[in-house]
């Protein structure tokens, strides 16, 4: 009887999802306490530094959102929170680009990690778009000028017909709701892929001479 029940469960979508999840991302991979010994360089810290910066961006952004787009012009506390948001964005891009440089020179897409690279690339583009809408909703001279100039770019390829950079209401909603949701989702997928696929092994770890085709073979002849 238990075998019949087991067979019936295998056809369920939920069961299939659960099994796939358990196979590809068991809790030991999600929250490991070991990592390959070759992960021994400061370059590996820039991914988590980018995430930490994103955390500060979201935290300061939530306060700005709660108080409304004009608050920071009128209040010292508001100006301080705006400054937190401004500098966390600067650090976010600094760390993300260095992370990208590191991953490129490691050829980190190897070993079936193409999706990890691609989600990272899309995250970069989405970050630029999210930051751009942020600059548009500053409600100061800079945002007036950026909207005036940027309209020409988007209008020129027809996107300006519905993406109106001079419409504060639209840009504010995109910046605070829609784009952070998209970016957050892409970031979560990217990080889960890193956890699931693991950190890419060094170039030539498996492709240099018969004595070193596999590390475990060397340790356990």
């Amino acid at each position: 009887m238990s075998n019949d029940l087991h067979d019936k469960n295998r056809e369920l979508w939920t069961a299939r999802l659960r099994k796939s999840w358990q196979k590809n991302l068991p809790i030991e991979k999600l929250l490991p306490d070991v990592q390959p010994a070759y992960v021994a360089s400061w370059i590996y810290t820039f991914g988590v530094a980018t995430l930490a910066s994103l955390g500060v961006i979201i935290f300061s952004g939530l306060i700005l959102a709660f108080e409304g787009p004009s608050w920071y012009h009128l209040s010292r506390a508001g100006h301080f929170v705006n400054s937190l948001h401004f500098w966390s964005v600067q650090l976010f891009f600094i760390f993300m680009v260095i992370h990208l440089w590191g991953k490129f020179w490691m050829a980190a897409w190897r070993g079936k990690r193409l999706m990890t690279w691609m989600t990272g690339g899309v995250a970069f583009v989405a970050s630029v778009a999210t930051a751009f809408t942020g600059y548009l909703v500053q409600t100061n001279f800079d945002s007036q000028w950026i909207s005036f100039e940027a309209k020409d770019g988007f209008n020129s390829v027809g996107i300006g017909a519905w993406f109106t950079v001079t419409n504060l209401g639209q840009q504010l909603l995109l910046h605070v709701a829609f784009l952070p949701m998209i970016l957050g989702l892409i970031t979560v997928i990217h990080v889960l892929l890193v956890r699931a696929k693991g950190v890419v092994p060094p170039i030539d770890a498996f492709d240099r001479g018969s004595a070193t085709t596999n590390n475990s073979e060397r340790r356990n002849p």
């Binding site: 010994a37 021994a40 693991g198």
Partner: protein
């Protein structure tokens, strides 16, 4: 207001190099990025030497059940 906001809210200088023009602040950011990248590559990172931790690694690998990390 920041401690040096008064200083920051004035016109900046620009670095000119051929057709490239960049504000000093942007130039500092970019130089800082290259510097951080180089530092990350070159600065020593704490690591366990192979001969000292062979037994520990075998135990850790068994605990992880060969799980990829």
């Amino acid at each position: 207001m920041g401690l040096i906001s008064h200083f920051m809210n004035h016109k900046t200088l620009y670095v000119h190099w051929g057709f490239i023009q960049m504000s000093i602040s942007n130039a500092i950011i970019i130089v800082l990025m290259f510097g951080l990248f180089l530092a990350a590559l070159l600065l020593p990172f704490p690591h366990e030497a192979k001969r000292d931790s062979g037994e520990l690694d075998q135990q850790s690998a068994q605990e992880a059940g060969g799980a990829q990390t």
